[in-house]
Amino acid sequence: MIKTMEKTDIKSSVNEIRKDFPILNRKVNGRPLVYFDNAATSQKPSSVINEMRRYFEEYNANVHRVGHALGQEASLAYEQAREKIALFMNAKSSKEIIFTANATESVNLVAWTWGRDNIKENDEIIVSIMEHHSNFICWQQLAKEKKAILKIVDITDSYELDMQQFEQMLSDKTKLVAITSMSNVLGTINPVKKIAELTHKYGAKILVDASQSVVQMKTDVQDFDCDWLVFTGHKICGPTGIGVLYGKYDILKEMPPFMMGGGMITTVSIADSEWEMPPQRFEAGTPRISEAIGLGIAIDYINNLGVDNIRAYEEELTSYMIKQLLEIEGLTIYGPLDMEKRGATIAFSIKGIHPHDLGTLLDELGIAIRIGHHCAMPLHQRLAVDKTMRASLYFYNTFEEIDYFIQSLKKSVKIFQKFL
């Protein structure tokens, strides 16, 4: 396993890092896998896979309700994972960390508890046009239910959030701003801290969807001063089925439960029930124990590399890739070209060629990219394209893989262009 990294060490250690990810050894259609679909899900290091296996082989038990040794070990590991996540995002306390199934469930939890209690007729909810459906549909439907108004911040010509329009949208009617810290299509980084500051001026709350940025940039909930922040575990080297909801404790305390059942009550009588304090209040039923433990190990892995080192290396990779993509005739990149304003997700299209056609040929060559609307249909409508191709890079990707990708893309384009 890779040793703790000094600054910008990833470039020289990437071959060592790759050894931590068994799947990167496999072949697809007889060729080495080039995995550029990291915005959809990341691959998992052996340390995560092994610890989840060890949990089932050595200390599998239910948590928080059994006094025996296995139960105590499992509870300890589960709560340690919560602590690690709290530290990772600089929460004031691990009580502010709630385990959910994924980012979608985290957003739903806030919408159908705090949202249902606090959003009233004619109140305004602001989202951006670049939101993933998971941070869009809930608010759209809540607004419909409450006869509230959903306002949508547009993007500028350089694919950045239109901050001027956002500031104009804010008013005393604004109750909530729900915004992504990094677009899963454009790669755009949004100025979350500034957005939170402006939002709070009007007494509104802010929820940040950090699913894309959490492994690419420092997440500091106290610095951002956001009221909630959500992310999913599987995009940060953790397993599927585990997500995180951070909330300021004072706000969480006032929120009613989202789901009801075992583990979230203090007393239950025939007539009524009383709720536990957060986070237990929001973790009804047997929680996702192995997944939480796996996510904790994934956080260890990321901490070991250092988010700043990851960001520096991925910036280099992204810049290298964009430069070569722009040389391809008829290719459009949907996203900022300024590296400081973007992450490692690159959406593009090529004039006259169906994205699925290119995706099919790249797959033949062992390259995994995503084709479609990437769960961001409103954004694609705004861009006036049906579908885009999306290549998303990660710290285990290499410059050689990018060379192979570009070469394969050019070769594929040539095949189609003969018939255009």
Partner: protein
């Protein structure tokens, strides 16, 4: 019009054609070329009712039944070049064939020409959805013509 060759004979013919290609580039170039040569369908046929459900690229399939010859007739189109190529192979096999023959013949051609992956239901191009619809229409016309 009725095809003189059986579906299996056409499958074998396609397999023979693809055997000539040594690499994936030649194979896909040939497939795309077949799609490009497919007769165009009228713009007014490209409507929602004719869309094949379950394809991520748009595929229009228009079935008809030639009562005189008792055969199925298919026209189809797509906005994807690869899918059009796959369509051209399907139409070559299935159009102008008797519905009972379409229903009773097993497809082995895609496996043999190394395009089996396209048959996976999760695959974006929806080849399996097209085959499903072709069989569905053949079943319906077969029942009608027997009644």
């Amino acid at each position: 019009m009725i095809k003189l060759q059986s579906i299996d004979q056409i499958q074998d013919e396609i397999i023979e054609e693809f055997e000539e290609f040594s690499d994936w580039e030649e194979k896909y170039s040939y497939l795309i070329e077949q799609g490009v040569e497919l007769p165009k369908i009228d713009a007014n046929c490209k409507v929602k009712d004719n869309l094949v459900m379950g394809c991520q690229s748009q595929v229009w399939l228009i079935p008809d039944y030639d009562k005189k010859n008792q055969v199925m007739l298919f026209k189809a189109d797509s906005d994807s070049m690869i899918v059009k190529g796959l369509i051209s192979l399907l139409l070559r096999m299935y159009s102008e064939q008797k519905p009972e023959d379409i229903l009773s013949t097993e497809l082995y051609v895609f496996e043999q020409i190394g395009l089996k992956g396209h048959l996976s239901p999760s695959r974006a191009n929806g080849l399996s959805a097209m085959i499903r619809d072709i069989k569905k229409f053949s079943f319906a016309f077969n029942n009608n013509s027997n009644n």
